[in-house]
């Protein structure tokens, strides 16, 4: 296989990251541009090109269509921020777990089983929650009515969990965790205000019509 055919095959493999409809319409054209931009004798895709293609493909998959009202686009950005906060929260919980556990025992020793439930739940559930935020952003960006309802349900859950966390003394043994939950609650509240705004209303359609 020649260098050129080899390189084209590698580029072609990277284009799989793009949405199918886009690939169907633009794959041949994009491959031409990528091959035109390649250096003589190049047979591998550089790191910068790989990163650029994957990032652009993910952006295209995740961003709201241009037809979405500004209120929905703003809400979708907030939901991606929610995913980022949840991810940061998960990383910080995993990294600081030993110190949080010892702080738990020192702070409110009698309630340590509840706190253990809290920390374990955070560690196990946050990756799922990150994916949940990404789905909420994607589906709300495409005007799925069910995604609006899902965000309200998630908001209600966090509204119940926050006082429970305060009750078991999270402010003492895991203040960062409590603050991130409060930030997530505010993000949800703002996103709900945006997607239930009058300007967003026409964009959402009943689930049975979608």
């Amino acid at each position: 296989m020649t260098d050129s055919a080899d390189l084209e095959r590698r580029y072609s493999r990277l284009l799989v990251w793009y949405p199918a409809a886009f690939r169907h319409e633009h794959e041949a054209e994009m491959l031409g541009v990528l091959m035109d931009s390649a250096r003589d004798g190049q047979h591998r895709v550089g790191l910068a090109d790989t990163t650029n293609l994957v990032r652009a493909a993910l952006t295209m998959r995740l961003r709201a269509p241009a037809a979405a009202p500004r209120t929905v686009i703003a809400a979708v950005r907030l939901m991606y921020a929610g995913a980022a906060v949840s991810l940061a929260c998960w990383i910080s919980t995993v990294v600081t777990e030993p110190s949080v556990r010892s702080a738990m025992v020192r702070a409110v020793a009698a309630r340590w089983p509840l706190m253990l439930v809290h920390i374990t739940a955070v560690e196990a559930l946050l990756p799922v929650i990150v994916v949940g935020w990404l789905w909420l952003a994607w589906a709300n960006g495409r005007g799925h009515h069910g995604a609006r309802i899902a965000l309200v349900a998630y908001f209600s859950l966090i509204t119940l969990v926050l006082p429970w966390m305060l009750g078991i003394g999270a402010a003492v043994y895991a203040p960062a965790d409590l603050i991130s939950m409060a930030v997530l609650w505010l993000i949800q509240l703002s996103a709900i205000a945006l997607i239930f705004n009058k300007r967003s209303e026409h964009y959402y359609r009943p689930a049975e019509a979608s």
Binding site: A28, E29, G32, V33, M35, D49, A67
Partner: protein
């Protein structure tokens, strides 16, 4: 308007261009400061097409490869002109104030 969008629309201002042509033109317009990659270009073209600012002009087959040419639409021309006028007015204001500042310092 983001700089990437501004540069792509500027590259298409006087003639239709294919993808590689746009990337080369963006490099020339920015005096080599911006090196646009294919991923960035096609994500931007997809968005600009959805917004009705660019459209496909024609297609050609060159050396067994598809070349698709893009052009500015009337809305794209209008938006680019408005943005260029805004940036020009800002630049004039900045330069004028800088001259004033130099005058006061000497």
């Amino acid at each position: 308007m983001q700089e990437t969008t501004f540069l792509i629309l500027t590259a298409l201002a006087d003639t239709s261009q294919h993808g590689y042509g746009i990337m080369t033109a963006v490099g020339e317009i920015s005096h080599g400061r911006v090196r646009m990659r294919a991923g960035t270009l096609y994500a931007a073209l997809d968005r600009l097409s959805q917004e009705g600012l660019v459209a496909i002009d024609r297609e050609e087959i060159v050396g067994n490869r598809l070349r698709r040419y893009y052009k500015l639409t009337a809305a794209g021309t209008k938006q680019l002109a408005a943005e260029a006028t805004r940036l020009h007015a800002n630049a004039i204001a900045a330069l004028s104030r800088l001259k004033l500042a130099e005058g006061m310092a000497t």
